[in-house]
Subunit: 146 residues, 2 copies
DNA sequence: ACTCCACGTTTACAGTTGTAAACTCAATTT
DNA sequence: AAATTGAGTTTACAACTGTAAACGTGGAGT
């Protein structure tokens, strides 16, 4: 049941499948298909394809249960989320990430506990934070270096 | 110079081009190509393709300057970042977004000002925050509803 | 005026992704 | 035992991406 590090990335459509399995802990294809058909306009065949790809890329594991399989996650949900978010942020200008966080936090519904955790992490972070983070969009040696 | 709302999405490789133009405000292709060749192992031809695609999808505008073009952004950097981040977050379980933020903030270098802005936004947000945010990975009516 | 250069455009091509039908078998039903 | 069902696998196919070469043409240099 140890979750592994994933090499390949999970695509948008595949995320929908993973979320079902993450939330249920494990599920057979009938359950996954049934739930996703209700959430999207996907045909069962589409969902079968996605499940197959996730198994092939090592995001889902299988256990034989009589005639069918039970699928379970081979990667942790929080780890996948952290990686996806970090990848997205790393592609953006370092100087602008702070403002992006502000906007994202304004727009995201967060629980009181989450907010308090964030505040305390930020307060600790403040003690060692730099005065400014500089733009990293140009080569370091560029004349107008931002 | 008014930045527009973008229909199509900017791909990872295209982001690199946009960051150059955003940072410089405007640039001719020679400058863009020169800078990106130094940052990546891209051939000039590759960068020309990316510029062309960005113009076609309305992310970059052109101004004729004698024999060549000057490119300038048609979408705002911060808006693009906000949209990209929101899209990424919306694909994740609502219940887990808070923890994802904590991890992302721990791993991101932020300036003192940014941190203080975040803290104050969070403190204000705390006053109206729900006790908990529930998982939205399954259809609302599902038996085991998370 | 002729040549060359370089800028933007066209074409190329394999891999990924979204979307889905068709097919293969083992198991269940009649 | 034959027919049916349904789970997983194969095949399909267009659009999007990353990566890049080839091409056409209007100026710059001679």
């Amino acid at each position: 049941m140890a979750t592994t590090e994933l090499t390949a990335t999970i695509t948008d459509a595949e995320w929908r499948v993973m979320r079902i399995v993450w939330t249920l802990g494990q599920a057979d294809s009938h359950t996954i298909i049934d739930l996703l058909v209700r959430q999207h306009d996907w045909k069962p065949a589409t969902i079968k394809t996605l499940i197959g790809r996730l198994v092939k890329k090592g995001a889902l594991g299988t256990t034989k249960d009589g005639r069918q399989y039970i699928y379970h996650p081979l990667i942790a949900e929080q780890a996948a989320m952290d990686t996806a978010l970090a990848t997205e942020l790393n592609q953006m200008c370092a100087m602008c990430r702070g403002k992006a966080f502000v906007h994202a936090i304004d727009e995201t519904e967060l629980s009181q506990d989450d907010i308090q955790t964030l505040i305390s992490h930020l307060q600790k972070k403040l003690t060692t934070a730099p005065t400014a983070v500089s733009c990293d969009c140009l080569p370091a040696d560029y004349e107008g270096s931002c």
